[in-house]
Symmetry: C2
Subunit: 246 residues, 2 copies
């Protein structure tokens, strides 16, 4: 059973309210990093794994993508995407990434934004991605940074003084990969912790070449609008990775 937290109504409403605000870590930290690694979208066939409400699929079309297949496990998200970001060049599909069947279609670019930490079997995912990419095709993805997924405790990993000031970030259990269960709007959100070495070595073992890693901080202006983004200087929330199929 794949996790489908985005079809929990409480989660969905709170998550979409956050994202629709337009002043999130996604807007100022993660998405700019993903976009900086995708410099040549024009004329390309793009697969977006974990497309959410389709903002990135729409961005690809605006940048000249020939076609975008955008996939999400959540019916809520796909309905929102079709309503808010429809386009004749975008096909929205409701499917778990793990069970995706695209009938031998291949892509120039595969993108996945903050979805891979929900996937249990990472090597199998990379096999699938490799099979969907053309030779010299690019895979660009973001995931929660191992520094933030490592610790098993459900409590916040910022350690604070008696006045609530953040003293430092707590890390533990780094080499113990696997399930981490925690609270994010609702109880029982499951993510999978993987080390930096696992994230990268699996790509290489499967025949991809690593091109670049970003541990992003806020773009200019972000911290003024959302002051807590200064925390990204103290510990990275995200890691963004670009690899090429040989």
């Amino acid at each position: 059973m794949k996790q489908n937290i985005y079809d929990n109504q409480v989660f969905f409403e709170q998550y979409t309210a956050l994202r629709d605000s337009g002043v999130t870590a996604n807007d100022f930290v993660e998405q700019p990093a993903i976009k900086s690694l995708l410099t040549a979208i024009e004329g390309k066939r793009v697969l977006d794994l974990g497309c959410g409400a389709g903002a990135f699929a729409k961005y690809c079309v605006e940048k000249g993508a020939a076609k975008v297949v955008a996939v999400d496990i959540s019916k809520n998200m796909i309905e929102k995407a079709i309503k808010e970001n429809p386009h004749k060049k975008i096909d929205y599909l409701c499917s778990p990434i793990e069970e995706l069947d695209l009938h031998n279609q291949t892509f120039d670019i595969i993108v996945s934004s903050l979805a891979i930490h929900y996937i249990e079997d990472y090597p199998k995912l990379i096999d699938k991605i490799k099979s969907l990419l053309i030779t010299n095709g690019e895979f660009v993805f973001s995931t929660e940074h191992p520094i933030v997924t490592a610790r098993k405790e459900e409590i916040s990993n910022w350690v604070r003084d008696s006045e609530g000031n953040k003293l430092h970030w707590a890390i533990d259990h780094y080499k113990q990969e696997g399930k981490r269960e925690g609270y994010w709007y609702v109880n029982g959100v499951v993510k999978y912790h993987r080390t930096v070495s696992t994230l990268i070595n699996t790509l290489i073992e499967k025949g991809l070449t690593l091109e670049k890693i970003i541990e992003p901080t806020s773009i200019p202006g972000g911290i003024e609008l959302r002051p807590k983004l200064i925390d990204e200087e103290r510990r990275p929330s995200f890691i963004v990775i670009k690899a090429k199929k040989n």
Copy 2:
């Protein structure tokens, strides 16, 4: 002025007493990881940057290396190496890595064990390494993990409860690269913090291909002899990286 802490007599005596004990994180964590990445030493010309007392240079000769050039900034260390690990196939050189002049010699393998966190200019070092490697030559190095070099405070990064038990590892200032000054047997030991992305991207930008990363834990038996090595499961002290020159 390059740092030469190993020629401080207090530091040198305490450090060599530790290493000579044979039950350190080097013996059970870091060196096994380095060696696992160097599978074909026979007949190769090896350059060892930061060779210390020459144990690794000697290991390379025992594994059939054609020749080893072993370099260290510390006169103390080179004297100890010549005394304890002499061999006709090993040339020991006392020089800062940054100022090394090998008169157009090239190497099949360049190794550096826990020296690179002392080097201020990492891109310049990688330029030099590239120029010293043959095409398809290998560069394998270990350095202190960014998780352990990040925080600026000089105090131990283990946060403990009132009874001294380790609660978690503290991280901060991750994206603020540069000088970290601390106590290690003596005051004022200077290391340079670099992020995972800088360590890796610099190699790729300079034209090397990343082959593997290890965030090592103890080999079997190590924890029994040195119980604190269990901490490597909680946060990695070292990162070991293998790259190839294209």
